[in-house]
Amino acid sequence: MTALGMEHVTSRREMIRFFDGYSAERKEELDERKTKRPLVKSHLLEILDSVSERGPDGLVNIFERRGLGLKRIDDDLYQARSQSGDLVGFLEPLRPRLIALYSNWDASSLGALVRNLVLRSPEIDHVWLSGLTFNVLWEVVTRLSHRNRFARLVFTHDSVYEVDGIPQAAADAEEEASDGEEQDPSDDVHVIAERRAARFQLVDRVRVVSEKLAQLQQTYSPLYAISQLRFPSPIGRGGHDFYDNGKVTNCSESFRDHRSHLLFVLRIYEEMLRRTEEQAWYGVKTSVAVPREFRRIVGAPLVIQFAEPLEPRVFDYWIESTFGRQRNRFRLWGHPIRLGPTKVHVYGLDRHLWHPLFLELTARGCVAIIPDRTCGNTIHRLVTNIQRFIDPGAKAYLGDQPYAAMVRDSSRDIQYVDAE
């Protein structure tokens, strides 16, 4: 079926058949290193509770307001068109708060469309998979895959605040990619561009990576900052490349298998959100025993400890370029209260979701308090960005519990099945 055929898809079954056929063709081309058309990609997005509670109309209205027209073609499946009327692909809510946008557009056009959509919508955010989360997903990959399958991991750490010379250089770096997404226009053919920062890929057999990765990470901390991870396809060659901003490229021959992996990871992410919000939400709650009288403070802070303290100069660049600019990588707003050479308090906002967020930022780490109802995605975005731009070896805790343990617990009872 061709792109013209995509216009005529009227059900989930037809969509899966279309993308299955399309994926098989692309896989053949990929094997011959002659990709003629873009691979199938999915963008995983998180929508706020308030939108999902408004039902299908709420979803359609939110996307239409931001220039993505949705037309329902099946239960919980929508055809998605850009503002100019071009067919982008299909949008499917896979979990109550989590949706997938499937498309065969090229990576840069689709990336720009999704980036603009998220930038302009406080109700929509990427699914944020931090290096710490990928480390746990890697453990899952080692359990799922044959030891001789090839694994592919990409590590990205851009020390954008650690700039030699004039402070302006850091500010310029801040402007490059204001939403933290690194564009990789060549990702359809898997060529990783060299950069000044630590960014490289590791391709080897699962058994080899699994034996060596932990040791390598202890030696060289950027290896903690996994920004892409391939789930090898159990159906055939290739696999599904998950990116830290929720993009997933189908490099397998099966869309069905691709969708099954999306569901699997989203179930883990949904559980992570639930646990994060359950533990981290701060508030003064009324006691159940004595309504309207006793109030207690509940919640747990997110604590991030850097492996090495930041130099004062780097700390200053970080604070100035984050809170001195409206468009900043961390998407934060606030007016820092200076408490020392390398300590500030910020009673501010997650500027993407416009929800309150209180931060203590020091050269040694960060404490974040998220008040009740602030979306748990705020925490996962913060952890992802700190690993990527500040310290790849940073350790994170929700209260006294390691963040990685929370991710591990979230993945424990999730079944690996295509059962939706």
Partner: protein, 349 residues
């Protein structure tokens, strides 16, 4: 900025320190939650507590100065051995004839053997209640003596009494420490009498993020009152900007002082029953909204305006206006406000 000894006397710093001492935190973090490690957690923040009616009658009959009810700053609870601590933060010690002593007498009585009735729990859910004063260590010995005097008076009047003790805050070269004399060390199961709880760094203010930012009724130095007002303003500012950013235009948002104050204080505003204090808080909000209105209206037309009896209304006609209003409101900094000036009463008061 306050000196360390001034900071240790500040009741808002003391209260927030106590709250951080019971937060779940990883080991090796700058704050060591020594009370949480000993098994304590927050049971209630500023709960209104009164002695059972018969005890209150006896207290009245005793002729001792007292209050009919008290609002300890925080009640801590250890589930494992069913202990409750009614914690009150104070800048300094007080004598048994002072007005503070009447509050202390009621606290001591409430924390007595009938504390379960005041807390509304079963008798077998409480093994021991205590009144605990948190204050600078330099004043700890004096307050312990006062508390012993007050307790003796109450026992003589045949009134039920709970244990009394002090937790002192002090400075060592590299840390703030929590000092507990024998009764407090035993009650809180602290391993030693001097527990470092915040690591100090030269030239750096050791205060933690403030969970409770402001209390109009507590006595603070001018510097500390200004700092707390800044934190409150930052939280109010975030509440206003957040509401503007989350809105879906075209819409008109009503910004009411009470709603903003409850959002900024996590609902603590509702607990303050002193009408003058409430007025003071609402004036602070109006002061901030007035400043925000000036900058917003200068650049975005008449978008933020005061409506008699309603608070302020923010009009967002379309996405473009919303983006511009958010940029302008976000650029304003509460640091530019005169934090030492008390807001003036207006016609609406």
């Amino acid at each position: 900025m306050s000196t360390l000894s001034e900071l240790l006397r500040d009741p808002i710093f003391q209260l927030n320190s106590v709250l951080w001492l019971v937060q779940p935190l990883p080991s090796g973090f700058e704050i060591k939650p020594v009370l949480r490690e000993a098994g304590f957690e927050v049971y209630a923040v500023a709960p209104p507590l009164a002695p059972p009616p018969d005890v209150l009658l006896a207290l009245k009959d005793s002729g001792l100065a007292h209050q009919d009810r008290v609002l300890p700053d925080v009640v801590l609870h250890k589930g494992q051995n069913r202990r409750f601590a009614l914690v009150e933060c104070k800048a300094r010690s007080f004598g048994h004839r002072s007005t503070t002593a009447s509050q202390a007498r009621t606290l001591i009585v409430v924390a007595g053997p009938r504390v379960h009735e005041s807390l509304g729990v079963q008798a077998n859910e409480v093994s021991q209640g205590a009144t605990v004063f948190v204050l600078p260590q330099a004043d700890a010995t004096q307050i312990e003596a006062t508390l012993t005097e007050l307790r003796d008076e109450l026992i003589t009047a045949r009134l039920p009494c709970g244990a009394t003790m002090a937790l002192g805050l002090d400075v060592q070269p590299d840390a703030l420490i929590l000092c507990a004399h024998e009764p407090a060390r035993r009650f809180f199961d602290l391993p030693s009498g001097h527990e470092p709880f915040v690591q100090l760094e030269e030239g750096t203010d050791p205060r933690p993020l403030y969970l409770i930012p402001y209390d109009p009724d507590c006595n603070q130095s001018e510097d500390e009152r200004a700092f707390c007002k800044r934190v409150l303003f930052e939280r109010l500012h975030a509440a206003v900007l957040g509401a503007a950013g989350r809105a879906v235009p075209p819409t008109t948002l009503t910004l009411q002082a009470e709603t903003l104050l409850n959002e900024a204080t996590w609902g603590m505003y509702d607990l303050w029953e002193n009408r003058e204090s409430n007025k003071h808080m609402r004036r602070l909000v109006r002061d901030l909204l007035g400043k925000l209105a000036r900058v917003a209206n200068a650049e975005c037309g008449n978008t933020l305006r005061e409506v008699q009896g309603m608070g302020y209304e923010l009009q967002l006609l379309d996405d473009e206006t919303q983006a511009k209003v958010c940029t302008v409101l976000g650029r304003f900094s509460c640091e530019t406000m005169d934090l030492r000036r008390e807001p003036e009463a207006s016609l609406f008061d």
